[in-house]
Symmetry: C2
Subunit: 513 residues, 2 copies
């Protein structure tokens, strides 16, 4: 077979794989947004079947043969140097998926998917009833599947957690994350303590509001979320906004990227910032080069790069003074009774109020990374064998005390708050803090190329920013590995310095430290 024929065949096999993964994404999205309560069991069976088929396709021996025919092996995954660059990236990513897939025994992917689907439903219930004990068997099963998966991949003993991290952030290990998180832990804690000393309001921030805690009609909130997305440039012909217990973004097709948010009557900011955060994820997926459509290259390259985008939009843009100069009058118009007498400056300070808090997704930009460090350290101990699932609530409380100086009263506000572990997504959490680091490194370059970007934001204009992000980051999809993408854009290695400098500057100014 000629090279073109081989590539065509390999693309056809990859395409079916991708379509099956997107079908699974439809089943999962529907489970989170629409599924009737008693439908959970059969949905788990449907997901198990589809995930099992996707795994079978990914491990199809024909793929191994076609890759070998193209010169792709474990030493030179990208294949023959005469291949076009995009095809070499394609070979590298297919090789990686194939090598991982063939190491899992038949049935493993299906069993893991079924268990994850049931576990997630059990988590929703356990969190609602604040019943960690009821969730323990599911969580134990999820840890077991994750450990086995990493072991099948060849990460054994102390390296198991590295295998899980690598699945979310290719090429990174726990040791390097610990090295990056060290200065974060230290300098963010120190900054938080200075703010607490200055405001004398820590550890409790509830009474310390800059504008009254009122009730915000959830339908008006939904209307604002939609308007906000439109003003950021979200194309509703290629996506949707829905509601779910835990906000998320998922790609159901190249032209079908869906985000969710949640509305709380007593918390206007929760929906607003979830919406911006998830829109950031969506923009990344929506702006991948259309030539990569229906291939394994047509997705974000890692969760860290993904979070760099969601957090860039949510925090660096979304919590900036410029952003609210344009948006606040619009928000005010929808809630005149509640916000009529609030100034833009007061609102800007309110959305940047820092202090220790219990819930990660409601945390401020400063303390957020400390929530992540807690989860990273717990996951590392879980997979080193130093911590048992049953002991998580206690370890959680002690970690919170250590990092943030406060403890949750209930597990619902503690160890049960996040969806990730219920789905077996261990090694995902560090991505959020890595995203903060990547994001600020990217921003340094963006600011050089677009010195007027803050003026754009203040005028509600995002086209130049979107274009810069598309051309430099989004368009690549999976073509460049995270470290290569970062280097291509910034000429740098991953570093905590720009993020820490940004945070320290912003909060020193905000609190007059």
């Amino acid at each position: 077979m000629k090279t073109n024929g081989i590539l065509r065949h390999l693309h056809a096999l990859d395409r079916d794989c991708c379509l099956l993964e997107k079908t699974a994404a439809v089943l999962q999205w529907d489970q989170e947004t629409n599924l009737p309560s008693l439908g959970v069991k059969e949905r788990a069976d449907q997901l198990a079947l589809i995930e099992g088929l996707a795994h079978e396709r990914a491990a199809d021996p024909r793929i191994g043969q076609l890759l070998a025919d193209l010169g792709s092996g474990s030493e030179h995954p990208s294949g023959d140097e005469s291949l076009p660059p995009a095809e070499r990236d394609f070979c590298r990513v297919v090789r990686r998926r194939y090598d991982r897939a063939v190491k899992l025994p038949p049935g493993f992917a299906a069993d893991a998917a079924r268990a994850a689907s049931l576990s997630q439903a059990a988590w929703v219930d356990a969190r609602r009833r604040n019943d960690f004990a009821a969730f323990v068997p599911h969580l134990g099963a999820m840890v077991g599947f994750a450990r086995k998966r990493a072991e099948y991949w060849g990460f054994t003993g102390g390296a198991v957690y590295d295998g899980l991290l690598d699945a979310h952030e290719p090429g990174i290990a726990a040791e390097e994350i610990a090295r990056l998180f060290g200065p974060l832990r230290e300098r963010l804690s120190a900054l938080l303590k200075r703010i607490c000393a200055k405001t004398a309001s820590c550890p409790e921030t509830a009474g310390d509001r800059d504008f009254p805690a009122l009730s915000y009609d959830t339908e008006q909130q939904a209307r604002y979320s939609r308007e906000l997305m439109e003003s950021l440039g979200f194309d509703f012909r290629r996506g949707r906004l829905d509601t779910s217990a835990h906000p998320f973004t998922t790609t159901l097709g190249f032209d079908d990227v869906r985000i969710t948010t949640h509305y709380k009557k007593d918390n206007l900011l929760s929906a607003v910032f979830s919406t911006i955060h998830e829109s950031g994820h969506a923009f990344y997926e929506m702006d991948i080069n259309p030539e990569l459509r229906e291939t394994c290259l047509a997705e974000g390259v890692s969760m860290g790069i993904h979070e760099s985008q969601s957090r860039l939009w949510e925090n660096v843009f979304g919590r900036s003074r410029a952003f609210w100069e344009y948006q606040f009058p619009r928000l005010k118009a929808l809630f005149p009774g509640q916000l009529g007498s609030v100034t833009t400056d007061v609102f800007y300070r309110a959305v940047n109020r820092a202090g220790p808090s219990l819930i990660r997704i409601e945390a401020d930009e400063l303390s957020y990374s400390l929530h992540i460090i807690l989860r990273f350290e717990l996951e590392r101990r879980l997979f080193s064998g130093d911590l048992e699932v049953e002991d998580l609530p206690r370890a959680w409380r002690s970690g919170m005390k250590d990092l943030l100086g406060i403890e949750p009263e209930t597990d619902a506000e503690g160890v049960l708050q996040d969806v990730h572990w219920s789905m077996g997504s261990f090694g995902y959490f560090p991505s959020y803090a890595l995203g903060n680091l990547y994001g600020l490194q990217f921003l340094k370059k963006l600011r050089q190329d677009l010195p007027g970007y803050e003026g754009d934001i203040a005028r509600g204009v995002f086209s130049a920013i979107r274009q810069w992000l598309r051309e430099n980051i989004y368009t690549w999809g999976r073509r460049l590995d995270p470290a290569d993408l970062l280097f291509k854009v910034t000429g740098e290695k991953l570093s905590a310095a720009p993020f820490l400098e940004y945070i320290e500057t912003k909060y020193t100014e905000l609190y007059g430290l």
Copy 2:
């Protein structure tokens, strides 16, 4: 292998088939209710892949071998007489699906599914723009796929349409339907003419309202739809209500049966009766014996029996005086401004107003079957080669003139009004009128067993009626073929007499003929 082992293996193969079909149903439901407009193309690819896999599984040679091992062949599809009765029914239905599946060439199911998905999206657009010409290529392709499918199954020449009918109503042929529709055509037309003469309002009924045409808030309508479903006993833990362009019911899992309706500001009755109609379909699917869960027996046996239930609920129960004695005060409470001065009797007459109309799903109980006869006759001519797709609009108008005495001004109100053909569902339409016949035959028996059923309805109590329907009809799923089910319940063959008697009695009384 022992018999039990063979059955276990066959059930496992069937289960994957069913799970794939349900997965396709999720993709389709989502396409109708949620899919962003540009997502259509990739959704078609996803559906093609899943339908292709479902077909591959249905035609798995192991199924043929296992069936043979159980003594099931084309002569004795139910297999060995020593098998338990439910397993014999299982063998018969798997044999039928297998024999059909192996006759289709590889790729056919996938290609047909992809084309249907694109065609349906094109239909939505063509109907919106009243542009039949734009829909012609898709409709032509759908006719082509349907013809080919029937031919592969062995229905050739003049029998092609019989093959399409058999897929929706096993065991029935066009000739028998024509025989049953003969007296319907004649006696319903005559009755309609008598009503027109009496009211002097035909052919136009628009100005002949019994209560003023006002505006009905669609959110209040949605609230009433949900209340109505709850009062009929719809279990929302096992199903949902959503909105779509064309109301439908679909089963996404044994405990996940979803209906849709549509809300029109100026037409309260449209949503109400669509909701009751689709609830009838849902009750059938929801009340199948749970022991049949995740097998091919766990669905309604034919579209005719299905429509007998939707139309029994919509018309015989839902348009009865007893029904509105209970429901009207509730409806009134939601729309006091619009309905405050309307009496139950006036409302009862309004929901039973008969007259020629253009839109099938808005048609009254009397003239409805005439709309079906039009479609049956057109389909029969399409597949006999007597009518070309391009000539449908003209044939439609002339058929309407002949059967109902009126003609549509636009194709959107004519040949483009229904979703069925756009999905390649030819041979489906007769099911609606057959459903009227089955339904009234079932009712005769129900009335004997539950003489007080109308009193129940007037008190808003549906438990005894649901139980009777479940025990006599729903519980069987596909275990009994339509004619066998009808005979088991009523001791009769399919007949138009009870339906015609019911309609003539009802409308003679209503219009004082």
